[in-house]
């Protein structure tokens, strides 16, 4: 058993899942938490309140297409959205490293205000701490999001069924690739932006329109599409079968992954969602998604089966089918 936490535990893959189970779930034992969804649902009087928390530690704090502030609001709103909740309010706690520029802080906070307006949510509570130089990487932001779920809406990673279709709302790996670009030491330049965006306006109307037919919503953030689909496959005890050629990827993302030996299926997305829906509505859902600028490239990328529960498989261009595992930690550039 490992005695030290390493960056692998923060990567969103197997190592993270392992840490969460062994250290946190074993002690914070309650059925709602252990469902492993993006937000937990608490019953308050006759309402179902969704609660989620997230921390944002991205370095550098600014990247093409956004910054840590925008990421914080979108990430939180999206987690609530994935459980079908209307976002009511967000809290924001800041841990700031001594020496961080006030101008940078202002940019980040303005970005949060702008994004909150865009998403139609308010930042209703906050906290600020300053730590010694070296104790934080510039700035860390922690949020809590509160929302309310309409009666009749039931979403969760455990609800995927045999025969369901798997839809992705657009190209994969954009955010992860954009952050890599922003890391100057790799010396890469490209016209590629993070896809960071709030997805509530896109997805909540669809969930309301097809309450029983859309069963799972999840945004494939840390660990990428592969890791998130594995989580769902485990929660629902199903096999998710993907078609490699159906998965939309931008050519710049392909360039970065080819150059560094990375895999786009394991890079983070911050403005995309997986929808798992009844096969009856998949075509109609695609038509509706295509009308929105955030989902012009939405595509059906796979289907759910009951054959090998808890796994994800992917078929290559020549039809060979292999298992697509969960991510295992840091994705590192390689030459071999």
């Amino acid at each position: 058993m490992k005695t030290q936490v390493t960056l692998a535990e923060g990567g969103g893959g197997e190592a993270t899942a392992d840490l969460i189970k062994r250290v946190f779930w074993s002690r914070f034992c309650n059925s709602e938490l252990l469902k492993g969804n993006d937000a937990s649902i608490l019953k308050v009087a006759n309402q179902r309140i969704a609660v989620t928390t997230d921390s944002f530690v991205v370095t550098p704090w600014q990247f093409p297409g956004g910054d840590i502030g925008r990421l914080a609001i979108c990430g939180t709103v999206n987690d609530l959205t994935m459980m079908g909740a209307e976002s009511l309010g967000i809290t924001a706690g800041f841990i700031i490293e001594e020496g961080f520029a006030v101008r940078s802080l202002e940019t980040i906070v303005q970005s949060m205000a702008d994004t909150a307006l865009e998403a139609g949510v308010q930042i209703v509570a906050g906290d600020t701490k300053v730590v010694n130089k070296g104790a934080a990487d510039g700035i860390f932001i922690n949020t809590t999001g509160i929302g309310v779920v309409d009666s009749g809406i039931q979403l969760g990673g455990e609800l995927a069924r045999d025969g369901d279709r798997v839809i992705i709302t657009g190209t994969v790996g954009d955010h992860g690739a954009a952050v890599i670009l922003a890391r100057e030491e790799l010396g890469l330049r490209a016209r590629l932006c993070s896809d960071v965006a709030p997805l509530n306006h896109l997805l909540l109307p669809l969930v309301k329109r097809f309450p029983d037919k859309i069963r799972v919503l999840r945004d494939p953030t840390r660990g990428g599409l592969a890791t998130t689909l594995n989580e769902i496959a485990r929660q629902s005890s199903v096999l998710i079968r993907l078609e490699e050629k159906a998965i939309p990827v931008k050519s710049e993302v392909q360039g970065i992954t080819a150059l560094l030996g990375l895999e786009s299926l394991y890079l983070a997305n911050e403005g995309k969602a997986i929808l798992i829906c009844d096969q009856e509505i998949s075509e109609q859902l695609l038509d509706l998604l295509h009308k929105d600028p955030l989902a012009k490239e939405a595509a059906v990328i796979g289907r759910v089966s009951s054959e090998n529960p808890g796994l994800v498989s992917i078929s290559s261009e020549i039809g060979g089918e292999r298992i697509l595992p969960m991510g295992s930690g840091e994705q590192l550039p390689r030459i071999c």
Binding site: G187, L192, S251, G255, I256, A258, L259, C336
Partner: protein, 77 residues
């Protein structure tokens, strides 16, 4: 054993060049391909160009197919 991918040489500055890989640009060392000119496609490994390659690799693969398996690869690009 070695990841090497082709990209287009878009600028030369002394011993180094700017190469574009599907729109992603990086500085690449050109000392091993002294004959390279702007517009060439270069095979790049670990930040160093190791070969000039044709822009249309797929065409050459098809020609090779036709040599070793006549009549099989009938589809023309």
């Amino acid at each position: 054993m070695c990841l090497a991918i082709p990209g287009e040489l878009i600028r030369i500055t002394g011993d180094k060049g700017e190469v574009s890989f599907s729109g992603v640009c990086r500085e690449v060392d050109l000392r091993l391909v002294p004959e390279a000119v702007v517009g060439d496609y270069l095979l790049v490994h670990a930040g160093c160009a190791i070969q000039i390659v044709p822009a249309d690799e797929a065409k050459l693969t098809l020609e090779l197919w036709n040599q070793i398996m006549p009549g099989v690869a009938e589809d023309e690009r």
